[in-house]
Amino acid sequence: MTDGPVLSLEGIDKAFGRAQVLKQVSCAFRPGEVHCLMGENGAGKSTLIRIISGAHRADSGRIVFDGVSQERYTPAWARTHGIATIYQELDLVPNLNAAENIFLGREPLGLLGRIDHAKRRQRTLEILASMQVSVDIRRPVHELGIAQQQMVAIAKALTVDCRLLILDEPTAVFTQTETEALFALVRRMRARGIAIVFISHHMDEIFAIGDRITVLRDGVVASTGPIGEYDHDKLVRHMVGRDIAVGQRRTVPADAEALLEVRDLCDGDLVRGVTFSVRRGEIVGMAGLIGSGRTETARLLFGAARASGGEIRLRGKLIAPKTPFEAVQLGIGMVPEDRKLDGLVLRRTVGENAAYTLVRKLSRFGVVPWRRVRREIAGTVTELSVRPNRTTALVARLSGGNQQKVVLGRWLAAGVDLLILDEPTRGVDIGARSEIYAVIRGLADAGLGILLISSDLPEVLSQSDRILVMTKGRVAGEIPGDAATEENVMALAFGQPGAAQRAAA
């Protein structure tokens, strides 16, 4: 073995359908080096690690392992050559204990092909000892804490001679002490000459553990180099530096009627004292990283989850919706984040899916004026130019953008005052996107208050009249639409010290 990289990627391209996710990405991972991958949501990090682990095949480019280009690079090949990935969703069997999980499918066998329990136990203890961590190996892993489970997953990776270890946002749900324990382990593995790929959204972690940084932006390597060459500002600049088209925006007068006022809204660890307001006719963007508590806040407002504290006022009146049914009655609508799982009844038709709120609104004592419902829904479908323009088409057959128009259409006729949109254009092509933006603006002009949750920064920046940035369950700051830049929003989202003051200034 030489001092050269364990693995290097050369000119990797990858597209899903028409979406080019990675463009000419090159990257080298050296032994004894912690290589941090950074980038916004959707910059291509996940795709890149899936290519390293063999789960995805690159469309073009080379994967070079120990100096030799590998043509047939599969998950099995990667695994047997010591390339291990610890995803956020750990692939452990919850009801098996640590030893059983670590040697799953590779159990040490004794006489007559029996599993040699004593040997398995012994080897598990050896591995854990070499990691200098202690895990109760008799208990099923689901009884262990999440950090301990992660140690088990890492131990599993170390059973083969591990050369490259990928950690995908390993600290996302960790406490401070758990994070420190993980870092100690990472440093020991680095000392053993293992190459480590570390993905995190927290900059302080990157600076604490990283040796080298690669920043991805829109599927290309925006910047790469030793950690010493970077500081917070430079990192943020590389992550977001791109042109964005600013849409039509307007400033709603501060004395406009406050439609929604939220104060100190809480729900466990996810939402920790959220305060903000939305005025009539205003589109309020809500930016932040995945897991910052935006979706959870939306679910509290819509009655899909129960708040543990705080208050919500709608049109000045204190409300506490216990179910979405109640929330709709109060005048709140929501377009959920996951269209297929939460938004649509896929085996029903376009018309039915668009009409649920209308049926509710127009029916008296259960009697539905079907003729009128059909007429209005046919109108809505035409107005939103849903394609195909047929209310009897199965909604499952529609493209993502058209499906989203159907969900949106549901709220057009519902007569709500506040509409919460959670990632309304995820997986939606450019054309449908601008149509959706026009509809949203139209609703705001009609006097609705809009809360636009989005991980797509250009979207938030171009569509919002005002932007709230959430971090770790709180509103970290608020920026007027025209003052917002990718830099100051991202700085707040990453919880960079002093960012709030600078943004406010």
């Binding site: 979405p324 799982l341 085996r347 049926v359």
Partner: protein, 335 residues
């Protein structure tokens, strides 16, 4: 001419197109077409094998009359299957209703009919509450209420059948002729079943009935669309058991007594009928007519086998094969 006048015309034109273009058929309509084809095929083959006896009016009338109870009960099963569950208690509700109907006959029909229906409704509410609010699987809940229902009916009669009420009154004679009278060549019990079908269709056009398809298709999405999911489910269970208890009244009218062993086959036969009818067993899809057609196909099969002299012991084999084969065909179509 203003824009407002033009648009409804365009919409009406679009609606006309929907009705004429075969590509625009909805899921339910397509499966109805296939089902109709299956139905015609079974009828044709049966007519051939039985040298035309199958399709003689008096034979057809017989088939319908003998299966009137199943025609009613399949409607109940249909509602629960659409909601994404199974109702194993339909047979027990039928038995219980037949026993209570006869058992309370001394107080007159004005008391005994509502009493029988209320008993059914009560079982449905229990099913609904346990499924909706306690969140237990419908299969297990209705398995339990099925056993309880049969047991209560047996305790009422002491185990056997029941011909009279507390004070010895029997079902009034004119009612017992209900089964033997035809109107427009169709037996009255079948007309009753058709009436219940119409009421069920009406229920499915009400808002709470319409939402059943959404709840069965994707309960999470239904909830987030502001649909009162619990209320929709609970109502479906109550309505289903109410329908099943009408089946119990019909049963008692047919045989002239109440029977705690009535309808032990109904739960499974009704599930078989909705499967043959192409109703998705995972919920959210299916047409009410397809359940009816499913029963008709099963009934014709029974009849053909009887006409051909197939041993009673062997007949269920054919039925079993047919159920599995049709569900296989439907599953292929979906994937």
């Amino acid at each position: 001419m203003s824009q407002a006048d033009v648009e409804p015309q365009a919409v009406r034109a679009a609606e006309r197109n929907e009705k004429t273009s075969i590509r625009n058929l909805t899921v339910e309509q397509v499966s109805n077409l296939r089902l109709l084809a299956l139905f015609v095929a079974v009828a044709a083959i049966g007519a051939l094998l039985s040298h035309g006896v199958l399709l003689r009016p008096e034979n057809l009338s017989n088939i319908l009359q003998q299966n009137a109870v199943l025609f009613v009960v399949v409607l109940a099963q249909f509602l629960i299957v659409v909601s994404g569950g199974f109702d194993l208690s339909v047979g027990a509700v039928t038995a219980l209703a037949s026993v209570i109907f006869v058992g309370c006959i001394d107080y007159g029909l004005a008391v005994s009919i509502p009493a029988a229906l209320l008993a059914g409704l009560a079982v449905g509410v229990v099913n609904g509450v346990l499924v909706t609010f306690v969140r237990l699987p419908s299969f297990v809940v209705t398995l339990g209420t099925m056993q309880i229902g049969y047991s209560v009916a047996k305790m009422w009669t002491g185990g056997g059948t029941i011909q009279t009420g507390f004070r010895g009154a029997t079902l009034p004679q004119p009612l017992l002729r209900f089964y033997s009278v035809d109107w427009l060549h169709v037996p009255l019990p079948v007309w009753l079943a058709i009436g219940i079908l119409a009421l069920t269709a009406l229920y499915l056009r009400s808002s709470i009935g319409h939402f059943l398809f959404a709840v069965g298709g994707n309960a999470r999405a239904a909830r987030l669309a502001g649909i009162p999911v619990s209320r929709v489910r609970l109502t479906a269970y109550a309505v289903a058991s109410l329908i099943a208890s009408v089946g119990g009244l019909l049963f008692a009218l047919r045989v002239g007594y109440g029977d705690p062993q009535a309808g032990t086959w109904l739960a499974l036969d009704s599930i078989a009928a909705v499967s043959i009818g192409g109703v998705s067993l995972t919920g959210g899809e299916g047409s009410i007519l397809s359940g009816f057609l499913g029963v008709l196909i099963i009934a014709m099969l029974d009849n053909i086998m009887n006409l051909l002299g197939v041993s009673v012991n062997a007949q269920p084999i054919v039925k079993g094969v047919i159920v599995i084969a049709t569900v296989y065909i439907y599953s292929r179509r979906r994937s």
